[in-house]
C-alpha cells in the first residue's frame, strides 16, 4: 500500500517513557483542555444567542447574561490555550509522524489557527473593557464577539481537520497533490458538528450552575440565566442524538464496531455516555433537575467521550503502526520531577484561589 510508504518512521531516539504513560497523560490533559474549549466556544455561541434574544425581546436580563459571558470568556480563552499545550505535546510524542504530516498538508490553514486565537482574544478584551467609543455604540461592541465566534469556529474546524487527516494516511497523497480536499474526509463534518454542539450543551450546563453560584445577581436574572442554560443544554443535547448516529455511521465498519463489542473500554464508555446523555434529558423533561446531578452527568459524559475519542483514534492509527512497539529509552528522573511539580503547582494554585476567595468574601457582605 502506497500510503504506508508515505508514513514517516518512528524517530530512532526512542521515547522517554513507556507509551502507555503518554497515552494516559494525553487523555488526562485533553480532558482538562476540552472543558475550557467547551466553555470558550459554546460560551461564545450562547453569548451571541442571548444578545440576540435581548435585542428581539428587549429583555435586559439577557444582555446581562451576554456581558457576564464576555467577562468570563477572557479567562476561559487563556485556560484553553494553557491546557491545550500539554495534549499537543503528548500527541506529538507518540503520533508525531502522523500529526506533523497532516499539519504540513494543512500548512497555512493550520498556522492561521494561532493568528485566529490572538485576534479572537483581543476582540474579547475589546468587548469586555469597551475602550474609547465602544461603550457608547449601539451594539456595545457585540460585533467583536461575532468575529471572535467565527474565528473560534474556524479554529475548532482546523483542529478537527488535523486530527481526522492525521488518522487517514490513505488520503494524504491525493490531498498533497491537490486532487482531494481535506474536508472531503468522511467523518470530518459530523465530527465537527458533534464537537460544536457538545461545546454549546456544556456551556448551557455551566450557565445553570453559575446562575446558582452568583449571590450578587437579582432573582430574576438568576432565573433567566438558569432557564436559558437549561434550554440550550436540552435542545442541543437532543440534537446530538442524530448527529452522534451520523458520526458513528461515518466511520469504517471495523472502527465503528470498536464501540459495539470490538473494544471493551470503547463499548463500556459508549454505553455509559449514551445512558448519561439520555438520563440528563429525562431528568430535565420530568422537571427533576438537580444541579449537582446534572453537573455530575455532564462531567461524566465528557470523561467517557474523551475515552471514546482515544479508542477511535487508536483504532485508526493501529491500522498502520503499533505505538507499543516504539523503542523506549526511559528517563524516570525527569518524569518524577515533572509529576512532583505538577502536584505542587496544582496545590499552590488551589491554595491561592482558596485564600483569594476567603479574602474577597467580607466585602460582598
Amino acid at each position: 500500500m502506497e500510503s504506508i510508504n508515505l508514513i514517516p518512521s518512528f524517530l530512532p531516539i526512542g521515547i522517554s517513557s513507556p507509551p502507555a504513560l503518554f497515552v494516559f497523560f494525553l487523555t488526562f490533559t485533553f480532558f482538562l483542555h476540552i472543558i475550557f474549549v467547551n466553555l470558550t466556544l459554546g460560551g461564545s455561541l450562547l453569548l451571541l444567542t442571548s444578545k440576540y434574544i435581548s435585542k428581539v425581546y428587549g429583555d435586559n436580563n439577557y444582555n446581562m447574561i451576554a456581558e457576564e459571558l464576555g467577562y468570563l470568556n477572557t479567562f476561559n480563552i487563556s485556560l484553553t490555550v494553557t491546557t491545550g499545550v500539554a495534549p499537543l505535546l503528548f500527541i506529538q510524542t507518540i503520533y508525531g509522524n502522523f500529526f506533523y504530516t497532516s499539519s504540513v498538508l494543512l500548512s497555512f490553514k493550520w498556522l492561521f489557527v494561532l493568528a485566529a486565537v490572538i485576534f479572537a482574544y483581543y476582540f474579547y478584551y475589546l468587548y469586555k473593557m469597551k475602550p474609547l467609543y465602544i461603550r457608547y455604540s449601539g451594539g456595545k461592541g457585540i460585533i467583536f464577539i461575532v468575529f471572535a465566534a467565527l474565528l473560534f469556529l474556524y479554529v475548532a474546524f482546523m483542529l478537527v481537520s488535523n486530527t481526522v487527516l492525521s488518522t487517514h494516511p490513505e488520503a494524504w497523497k491525493e490531498v498533497y497533490l491537490n486532487k482531494r480536499a481535506f474536508f472531503d474526509l468522511p467523518t470530518l463534518l459530523p465530527r465537527y458538528i458533534h464537537f460544536v454542539f457538545a461545546a454549546t450543551a456544556f456551556a448551557g450546563l455551566f450557565l445553570m450552575v453559575y446562575s446558582r453560584m452568583k449571590k450578587s445577581f437579582s432573582k430574576e436574572l438568576k432565573e433567566k440565566m438558569y432557564s436559558f442554560g437549561k434550554k440550550s443544554f436540552f435542545i442541543v443535547t437532543l440534537a446530538q442524538i442524530p448527529v452522534g448516529i451520523w458520526l458513528l455511521l461515518s466511520h469504517e465498519k471495523e472502527i465503528m464496531m470498536l464501540l459495539m463489542g470490538g473494544s471493551l473500554l470503547g463499548t463500556i464508555s459508549f454505553i455509559i455516555a449514551l445512558v448519561a446523555a439520555i438520563s440528563a434529558l429525562v431528568v430535565i423533561m420530568l422537571k427533576k433537575d438537580n444541579i449537582y446531578l446534572l453537573t455530575g452527568i455532564g462531567v461524566a459524559i465528557i470523561i467517557f467521550m474523551v475515552l471514546i475519542r482515544r479508542v477511535i483514534e487508536n483504532g485508526y492509527f493501529s491500522k498502520y503502526v503499533n505505538i507499543y512497539n516504539m523503542e523506549t529509552n526511559p528517563q524516570w528522573g525527569i518524569f518524577a520531577i515533572f509529576l512532583l511539580l505538577l502536584l505542587a503547582v496544582l496545590g499552590i494554585i488551589g491554595f491561592t484561589l482558596f485564600k483569594i476567595n476567603r479574602e474577597l468574601k467580607p466585602k460582598n457582605k
Partner: protein
Amino acid sequence: MEFPFWIHPDIAGGQLIASIAILHVFISHFAVGMGLYVVMAEQKAVKNEDWELLNFVKTNSSLILFISAILGALTGVGIWFSIALVSPAGTGSLISIFVWGWASEWVFFVLEISALLMYYYTWDKISQRTHIFIGWLYFIGAFFSLVIIAGIIAFQLTPGTWNTDRTFWSGFFNASYLPQVVGRFGISLILAAVYSTLVLSFTKNERVKKTAGHFSGIFAAVGFILTFGGFYWWELSLPQNIQGLLSGGNVILTNFFRYASFTALGLAIVSLFFTFVIPKKINIVVAVILMVTGLYSFGYYEFARERARKPYIIMNYMYANGILTSEVSKLNKDGILSKTGWTELGKPDTKIGKGRAVFEAECVSCHKIKGYNALTPKMQGMGEQDIAFFLTMLDSNPLMPPFVGTETERKALAAYLNKEINGGS
C-alpha cells in the same frame, strides 16, 4: 526528510520562523523581567506607602496581561507550530528527547498564566500580603520556563555527551546552558526596564517618574552586567571552531555577534542615562528608541546563535535538512529518495523531475532558488557539470552539510538547478 515539505513560493521557512520567534523572545523575556520588576516595585510601594507608585506598578502589570499572556503565549506556540511545519524531524527529536522537560515547562506555564490572571484581577481587592505572594508566584513560573527552555536551546548547539550516552540530564546540563540562563535573565531585566519607560513616558507625576525611573535604572544596570557577563561566558563555553566563526572566521556570524554587542552597549548608555540622570525627561520617543534598539540587539544575537549551529539542528546528530549524520553513508549508497516517498509525488520520472525531488528533500528547508538564502547568485553562469562538481564540496563551507545521495541523484540535482537558474535543459 521523511515528511512532505511545506513549500510556499514567496515565504521561506526560515523567515517565517524568525519573524514569529523574534517577536516571541522579545515578549517572553520581558515577561520574566517585568514579573520581577512589578512584584519588587509593589513591595517597595507598599513599604513606603507610596500609592502613586503603586498605580504605576498596576499599569505595568496590565502590560504583562495584554502583551505576554496573549501575544507572548500564542507566539510561543507559534514557534512550535512553525518549526514543526518547516522541520518536522528536528522538532520531533527535540520533543522526544526532552518530553518531560517540556512537560515540566508546561507546568510552570500553567503557574505563570494562572498567577498572572489572579494577580491582575485582584488588585485592590485582597490583602497586599496575598497579592505580593501571587506576584512572586508569577515570577517563579515565568523564570523557570526560561530556566528549562534555555537548556533545550543550548543543547542544540552544545549537546556534549548526549551524542554518546543519550540521557536527558547530559543533554540538558550542557556546556553552554548556565551561560545562557545568566545572559537571558540579564536580557529579561533590561527588557523590563525598557518596557517600563513606555509606561513612564505616559506618567504625569514627576515624583513617580523619578522614583520609578531610578528603579528601572537599577534593573537595567544589573541586567547589562548579567547580559554582557553571561554572553561572554557563553562564547567561551562554545567549542573552539564555533568561537572562531564568531570572532572573525565567518563574516556574517561575526558581524551579527558584534552588532548585538554594540547595540546592547548603546542601549545600556542611553537607558542608564535617562533612568538615573534625567528620569523626568523620559518620553515616548525615548521609550520607542530604546524598544527598537533592544529588538535589534536581541534579534542579532538570536540570529548569530541560530547560525552558529549550522549545518546542524542538533550538533553532530542531525543536519538542518533533517538528515541524521549516522545515516549519511547508507543514503549515499541507497539514495536520498529511498528514504521518503513524498518528494517524488506528482513529479515526472525524468532526470529534471528526480532533481527537483532531491532539491525538495535536501535543500529547500534552508534555500530557495531565488529570494531567501538564494542559490541563483551562487550558481549563475555555471554549467551543469560545474554545478555537479560544486555539489561534491558543499561542506567545504563549515556552515553547510555535505551532499547526501547517489551520484545519479547528484547529477539530477545539478540538472534541475541548472535548468532553474541558468535556463539549461
